[in-house]
């Protein structure tokens, strides 16, 4: 059973012209997001225009990668055919991380026992190579 589960792939992001700079940044070990040149608001997830002022003058901007856990959950069951590949990781933590610069990012908290994850916990980005051409930014306690 365990071996069969290992063969089921996990879903990967579809790299599009819109989100490509983010994934290229992640491959280089950098967390980058769009920021509006006009109103300075962050834009996340990737969008063609600023969600606050409507400007299309956006630039990809590096972030420190530090933030706090805003909310989290411990995944205990697979729901949905497309996500069966995660069965081997259960239980694991997914979280909303509020980055110090502002945007909220959804990722996993790794590198600590799941019981120790708390709302408000300081976390730092770490990059995990999937081995399939995509690097995922994940977070670990500071």
């Amino acid at each position: 059973m365990a071996e069969a589960a290992r063969e089921i792939p996990k879903p990967l992001p579809q790299i599009t012209p819109l989100n490509q700079p983010f994934w290229e940044g992640a491959k280089d070990g950098k967390l980058v997001m769009q920021r509006c040149k006009d109103c300075r608001a962050w834009v996340w997830c990737p969008r063609p225009v600023c969600g606050e002022c409507g400007s299309d003058s956006l630039e990809w901007t590096p972030l420190s990668g530090r933030g706090k856990v805003f909310a989290f959950t411990v995944i205990r069951e697979v729901v949905g055919h497309a996500l069966r590949g995660f069965a081997r990781d259960i239980p694991y933590v997914t979280a909303w991380i509020d980055l110090d610069e502002g945007p909220r990012f959804c990722s996993n908290i790794i590198g600590c026992p799941i019981e120790s994850v708390r709302i408000g916990m300081d976390v730092q980005v770490t990059f995990e190579d999937t081995g399939q051409g995509v690097t995922l930014p994940k977070f670990k306690p500071v």
């Binding site: 579809q14 959950t73 995944i75 497309a82 909303w96 996993n108």
Partner: protein, 492 residues
Amino acid sequence: MTAQIRRRCVVPRKRKPDPFLFFGFRLSALPHARPNDEEVAGVFWLHGQPAIQSLAPNSPYRFFQDIALQALLARASLDTVRPLHYGCGKPREVTMSLRGKAAIVGIGETPVDRLGSKPGEPRKSTAEYLAWASRIALEDAGLTIKDLNRQGLAAIYTTNHSQPFWPEEVASIVGFTPKVALAGGNGGASSVSVLGHSAAMIAGGVVDLVLVVAAAAPFSERGRTRAEPMDTRDFEMPFGVMGPNCKISFVKSRYMYESGMTDDHFGKIAVTCRYHASLNPAAYLKKPMTVEDYKNSRLISDPIRLFDCVLPANGGKAYILASPQRARSLRKPPVWLLGWGERENPSAGPRYRANPLITGIAECAEDCFAMAGVTRKDIRCLNLYDDYIPIVMLQIEDLGFCKRNDREFFEKTDFTFKGDLPIQTSGGMINCGQPSTAGGMLHVIETVRQLRHEAGARQVPGIKFGIATGLGAVNYGKNFGCTAAAILGNEV
């Protein structure tokens, strides 16, 4: 209607009928038009009247549908019309009124099943549930399918069955030729969203009957793989986000953190819902439960428990909306649409860091109460979209029935049908089943039952006004992308 509104909106002027003219645009001439856009989209002139055919949910020209609706609202001599704003910033605050412009005259609900879970359950397909629910609604209204020809249809897309021409296929399945086909593409919010859209069509004089219908049979038909929004596909699924269970867990965990609500608070709501289900012959889960049962139910995605979650099922639901004149001539007492509001892609705070504990229902409620001219004290029944228990509580806050994070309110209030503020009198989708996006129609149907005083053992005494809400899609980093609310009443 004033000249001012005429100028502000795109109002159709007299033109020669051209079936493919879309306010001066030919859709096929626009860049990226899909081959079928011309046929499936836009406002057509039929017999000198504008008629809307809805766009496919994935069409790049979906926003034209809104323009079309704006034009119809303007023609309908509505008080004021929301100005168009595609972009950002705070919209100008205006209200429009659909108050008393349409009434629900027929409701239809098939039994729900989970195929094999109980002996003797029917084995039916989506198409059969659609036709079945429509027939029950027609019988309830005292109409026949022939009465619907050249009237309106609003068909709701389901998560894994519908193809891009869904409203037309639904017309073909139900067996009539509508003059207007609206699409509900707002997930679970659709049945409340299209209530307003259909009322606008009626108020505009385009049609005087609209059949709103939805069905799904996820247990008996293998659906196609569901297409996911790009944020989910690219930035949630690769991290193992398990759909709405996981995303609402984020919301619940934050809600518990900020409000101090415990499983006792959530359990009380779950127990109330099950109690009402035990009084509803159409409910699926009827065995009474206790707060302890709730607390002992297994964790699916901490802190979401099994008894927080909605119950997927097969089934179909329908209702029929009519013009005031038509409504008064039919079998059942009309249940009037008095207030309505919808918000799509709402965000409490900046879009990159929204407050996930405020849903678009808060803004819908403002529209609803302003339009209906009633107060919260007048409302005797809340039928709230209940994909998860904590979401019911957030909506009670959003609707303004208590303060934010008001633990004491949730502890002291009797939410049963004979109590202070009856909620979920049908038992909710959590106990009556959720046939995909058709599930949310339960709340419209239950509100109608209550207002007709047809709710039997769970009838709220003396009720005159009730609220039904709808929610759909859970957006990245916040809560629901599609939100709608309506106030219904048994008098205008």
